[in-house]
Each structure stands twice: as structure tokens, then as C-alpha cells.
């Protein structure tokens, strides 16, 4: 079953069907047009010959975009599809302006009584109506198939061509309405308002295709809300400190994601994290309608917040506790702190004099000399908590008298 599904979702098969459709259209329109001497049908047949050429360009574009990345094209060649999309959008816009211009002029002429009636015998009219309506129906069916395959396989050129085929179908319906209006309803103006509506639809389609193609060519972000969502997915994973950088853009239909993740995990764990992130991001992008993607995720360590911390200690009969005040301290343990963990720690004896003031002076001088950021005491006057010494050292209440709580080994 999957094999059959895959077969029908092949972009080459879709383009084969398009070529077949145009082949049948060209053969029928040219032969019927010549047979019934209808320049309109014959002209449309020649237009379809040009469409065959366009279909061949689409096939070449798909083939080219599918070439694997190389040293010279590290992200592949998928942007060729975006170039094609922009080209199709320009052609559609030109066609839309031409149709709307003709419709406005024709409506003006009708309003001023300058009607140029269609010249067809009743037998010919039936053929013309049959060919245009049949052609429009086939265009509708084939374009739907083309767009579906294009979206599923991520070929923007196929989607753009499908939308162009759909516009062809709408033009054919306009022609059909024109004939019905003139020969059955006696209302030759009928096709022109419809032509105006069709031209608006075409301009909107052109804008949509062109904007998407240009966004890819100019490497526009896939959207701030998508980037925020991806950041949230990643930041929600255990082991991730934060997402430092995220950049997204499209190459063809593929989302390119460049992300820098801050984490302290080991190299092996980073690899597994990366794998898990890629799975979750891919799942999110699929839900949001993106079909393809390539992720470049690199890991870096977060800021270590390296600093020095001092714990004021009291040595009392060979037992150690955290000092209640600076004056009481007999020693200080100065630790190098990085990532919140205690590293190298050095014990300094504080010159203990008769009066506390001298101890304080000596200790503050030591802290300044050692570039200490915080000084930890226990149960000192609460008003001091968070205050600074004159040299700018934070004074903090540690909440425990036990030196091991501060990562200090037994002295």
C-alpha cells in the first residue's frame, strides 16, 4: 500500500500527468480549432504548447533541486525552485494585469455600445464549449494533484506550476462563460466581471508564490513565532541551560536551522541531546506544514560565573564552625567558584587582635587583595544581609553553621 502511495506521490509522475494533459489539450485544441476554423481554440492550443515547455522546465528544476549537497553547494540546490517560483509569480501577475485590462476595456466598450460579437455557427459553439469546459475541468483535477504532490514532497516549483495550471483552468472557465453569456443567455458582458475576479485570484496567487520564493531567496526567517516555539521546545529539555542563538531560513522547501545551545553535559550526552532535539524540532515543523529541514545545532558551555567566595570560620578547640560576625572570625576559607561548584579552596588565618576592629580591617584587606566577591557568615545581624563591605564584597547569611554545607573539606 505504501509503495503504491509513494508511486503516486512521485513528482516526476505528477509532471508526467501534466505533460500528458497538455499533450491531449494541444492535440484536441489544434485539430478542433483548425477543423471548425476557431482562432480562439487554436490560439489556446498554441498557449498549451508553451505550457509543455514550462512543464519540461519544472521537471528539470525538480531534478536539479534533488541533486545532493556537495562541497561547492553545502546546502544543496533547492533554491532553484524558489527562483522558478518567483518567475512563475511574475508571469502570473503579467497575465492577470493583461486579463483585467482587457476585461475593463471590453466592459467600457459594451457600456458604450461598441460590442464586437463572437462569430460562430451554432454547431461550432457546441464544440468550443465542450473543449473549453472539458479543458477547464482537467486543469482543475490535474492542478489539485500537482499541488498536493508538490506540498507533500516539498517541491515549491511543482506547487507554483500547479497554481499556474489552476489559473489556466479559471481562464478557460471565463472563456466558457463568455460563450454561454453571448449564445445562450444573450449577455455578452457576463465573462468580463468573472475575468476581473479571476485576475484578482491570479494576483493573489502570484503574490503568495512570489513572496514564498523571495523569502527563501532572501533567507528570511521562517517566523519569529516558530523560532520562539523551537526555543521553548529546546529550553524545556533537561540538561539545556538556555538557547543562546537561533537562526532559521528556507532553502527551497527545506528549513535550515542554526542554533547554539548552552549546556554543561558531556560530549556523548550532547550528541544524544542533539538527536532528541532534532526529533522534536522535526515533529514540530511537520505539524506546522514544513516538509523538510536541516539542523545545525552546536553546543557551548554557559557562563561559569567564576568568582571567589569566602567563608568566615571560627576554630574553637579544633572544631570548626562558620563565624557569626567578621569580628569573631579566626580564619577564612577562600574558594574559587565556577558553575556554582567549589573548586580550589585556600585557608587563611586572620590576625586576631584584642579588638574586633583590627580583625575586620585585616580581613577586609585580605578580601580585597584576593578579589573576593562574597563573604558568607552565619546568623549575623539580618540587616547586613546583602550589604557590601567598603571594598564592594557582598555579605551573605549562609544559613548553616556547618562548613561542609559550603563545600569545604574537613580541616
Amino acid at each position: 500500500m505504501n509503495q503504491i502511495k509513494l508511486f503516486f506521490l512521485s513528482p516526476y509522475l505528477a509532471m508526467g500527468v501534466v505533460l500528458l494533459m497538455y499533450g491531449v489539450k494541444v492535440a484536441s485544441k489544434l485539430s478542433i480549432g483548425r477543423w471548425i476554423h476557431s482562432p480562439m481554440i487554436e490560439g489556446d492550443g498554441w498557449h498549451n504548447v508553451a505550457d509543455i515547455g514550462e512543464a519540461c522546465v519544472v521537471i528539470a528544476t525538480i531534478w536539479f533541486s534533488r541533486l545532493p549537497p556537495s562541497d561547492t553547494f553545502p546546502l544543496g540546490r533547492k533554491n532553484i525552485e524558489s527562483i522558478f517560483s518567483v518567475a512563475v509569480s511574475v508571469l502570473l501577475a503579467i497575465m492577470a494585469f493583461k486579463i483585467s485590462g482587457t476585461a475593463v476595456i471590453s466592459l467600457w466598450n459594451i457600456a458604450h455600445g461598441q460590442v464586437a460579437p463572437l462569430v460562430m455557427s451554432p454547431e461550432v459553439v457546441v464544440w468550443v464549449m465542450g473543449v473549453t469546459l472539458g479543458s477547464a475541468l482537467v486543469s482543475g483535477i490535474v492542478s489539485t494533484y500537482q499541488i498536493k504532490v508538490g506540498k507533500r514532497t516539498g517541491h515549491a516549483s511543482l506547487v507554483a506550476d500547479g497554481k499556474e495550471t489552476l489559473s489556466d483552468g479559471l481562464i478557460e472557465i471565463t472563456i466558457f462563460l463568455g460563450i454561454v453569456g453571448e449564445y445562450i443567455l444573450d449577455a455578452p458582458w457576463l465573462e468580463y466581471p468573472f475575468a476581473l475576479i479571476v485576475s484578482v485570484v491570479m494576483v493573489r496567487t502570484a503574490r503568495e508564490i512570489g513572496a514564498r520564493g523571495l523569502a527563501a531567496l532572501l533567507q528570511k526567517s521562517i517566523g519569529i513565532h516558530h523560532e520562539r516555539a523551537i526555543k521553548a521546545i529546546v529550553a524545556d529539555m533537561y540538561g539545556v541551560a538556555s538557547v543562546a542563538q537561533i537562526k532559521t531560513f528556507m532553502v527551497g522547501s527545506a528549513v535550515i536551522l542554526i542554533m547554539k545551545v548552552l549546556s554543561r553535559t558531556s560530549t556523548e550526552m550532547s550528541r544524544l541531546l542533539k538527536e532528541s532535539m532534532a526529533l522534536q524540532i522535526a515533529q514540530y515543523l511537520r505539524q506546522e506544514g514544513f516538509v523538510d529541514g536541516e539542523f545545525f545545532i552546536r553546543f557551548d558551555v554557559p557562563d561559569s560565573d567564576a568568582h571567589r567566595r569566602t567563608v568566615a570560620l571560627v576554630c574553637d578547640h579544633r572544631s570548626w564552625r562558620v563565624a557569626h560576625s567578621i569580628q569573631e572570625a579566626t580564619h577564612v576559607a577562600i574558594s574559587d567558584i565556577a558553575f556554582g561548584e567549589v573548586g580550589r579552596t585556600v585557608l587563611h588565618a586572620v590576625a586576631h587582635k584584642e579588638t574586633g576592629e583590627e580583625t575586620e580591617e585585616a580581613l577586609l584587606a585580605l578580601l580585597e587583595e584576593q578579589h573576593v566577591r562574597e563573604l558568607v557568615l552565619f546568623a549575623f545581624d539580618r540587616a547586613w544581609n546583602g550589604m557590601h563591605t567598603p571594598s564592594g564584597v557582598w555579605i551573605l547569611n549562609g544559613g548553616s553553621e556547618n562548613p561542609s554545607v559550603y563545600g569545604l573539606p574537613k580541616v
Partner: protein, 214 residues
């Protein structure tokens, strides 16, 4: 579930995580006691009713330990689960007994994870078709435990993960595990999966106390 919870009393940002996590796990009338991390090595602990929450793994293997590393809080929001890996032995069943009760208390589903060797000649991509008979029996027991506790559960049977360690880690991220619950196998002489996980898992890991054997 846990009548007594010891929390590693560490000053600074490292210490705030375990305290907060212990509070998140205070499901019943639990007494929480802060102790310096080194002190746990000398404490008389009844592992049936107690848990030690710590960012660093203690030496002791006779107590239940929740290893939090740098995690500031357990992620317990909707969509999370408790992951219980299992193998062919009894460690998965022991882990499940606690893990399922914990999941029930936290109102989370349980994912029973297993990675299996590919059976030669079996083409199926369904992990169950490659499951060893003994692992199948364990799965049956796990199902019973979860049903008894009325806890929602699913099985995640992966065919040939690159390694058991990698399989558990990736599954824990894929399934959005709030924590992993594991027990050490009884006959492991060296290199248990629990030790491998304890070494570097960024996901909080609850390691059950070893069973006392005579």
C-alpha cells in the same frame, strides 16, 4: 510514599534545586530534613520509607536516591511521564513498584521502556515481535503493577537502540520524562546501566536502594 526525605544541604545555586524538588515530591505527610551531603554516608536510613535528594551521587547503595544534578525543578506539567526502563531481570519490576506509585502521586503516566535485540529472520518493525520471552514475562508483571495502581501506562519497545544507555536517554527526551526510575540488577559485577545513567543523565534519576540479599 516517602515518610522522610533527606535533602543535600548545599550552599548556593547547586543547593536550591534539591530543596525545591523535595518540596515537589512532598506528596503526603513527609518530613524533610536538610543534611550536609557528606553526612548521608554515615546516617542510619530506612530505605523503605526514605529518599535522599541530591545533586551528587553518594557512595551508599542502600538508600533511595533522587539524583538531580543541576536541575532546578522537576518538570511535572501535562504531557510529562515517569520513565521506567526494564530488561529481563527483576530490576525493572522493583523500579516499577516505586515508579508507578510515584507517577500516581504526581498524576503522571508511566512509560515502560525496553530495547531489544532484533530476532534473526523476523522482518517486523514492531518491537514486541522481537521481545525475549523473559522480557515479555517482565512486561506482563509491569502491566499488572500499573493496572493494580490504576495508572495510565504505555510500553515503548525499541528494536536495537545503539546502546541501552543511549536508548534510555533518547526515549526519556522523546517521551518527555519528568524523571527516570531505575534499580540496580542483583547480579551485575561491573558497569551497571544505573551507574552509566548516574554518571551523565541530565534527566533526574531515581535510583532504588539495593535489595539486601543473604
Amino acid at each position: 510514599m516517602f515518610q522522610l526525605m533527606y535533602v543535600a544541604d548545599i550552599y548556593g545555586p547547586q543547593g536550591t534545586g534539591p530543596v525545591f524538588i523535595a518540596d515537589q515530591l512532598r506528596l503526603e505527610e513527609t518530613v524533610v530534613e536538610k543534611i550536609p551531603p557528606g553526612q548521608i554516608e554515615y546516617l542510619l536510613v530506612d530505605s523503605r520509607v526514605s529518599l535522599f535528594v541530591t545533586p551528587v551521587l553518594p557512595q551508599r547503595r542502600d538508600l533511595n536516591v533522587l539524583l538531580t544534578r543541576e536541575v532546578p525543578a522537576l518538570k511535572l506539567e501535562c504531557g510529562r511521564c515517569v520513565l521506567v526502563p526494564f530488561g529481563k531481570g527483576d530490576s525493572g519490576v522493583r523500579a516499577a513498584r516505586l515508579g508507578v506509585r510515584l507517577a500516581k502521586g504526581l498524576d503522571l503516566p508511566v512509560v515502560f521502556y525496553h530495547t531489544t535485540w532484533r530476532k534473526p529472520g523476523v522482518e517486523s518493525i514492531d518491537g514486541w515481535d522481537h521481545l525475549h520471552d523473559e522480557a515479555r514475562k517482565v512486561a506482563q508483571t509491569l502491566r499488572g503493577i500499573a493496572c493494580q495502581q490504576n495508572v495510565f501506562f504505555i510500553f515503548d519497545i525499541q528494536i536495537q537502540a545503539p546502546s541501552v544507555f543511549a536508548g534510555i536517554i533518547v526515549a526519556s527526551f522523546k517521551r518527555h520524562a519528568a524523571m527516570i526510575v531505575m534499580a540496580r540488577g542483583t547480579n551485575i559485577l561491573r558497569g551497571s546501566y544505573v551507574s552509566q545513567m548516574a554518571e551523565s543523565s541530565p534527566v533526574p534519576l531515581l535510583i532504588l536502594a539495593d535489595e539486601v540479599t543473604t
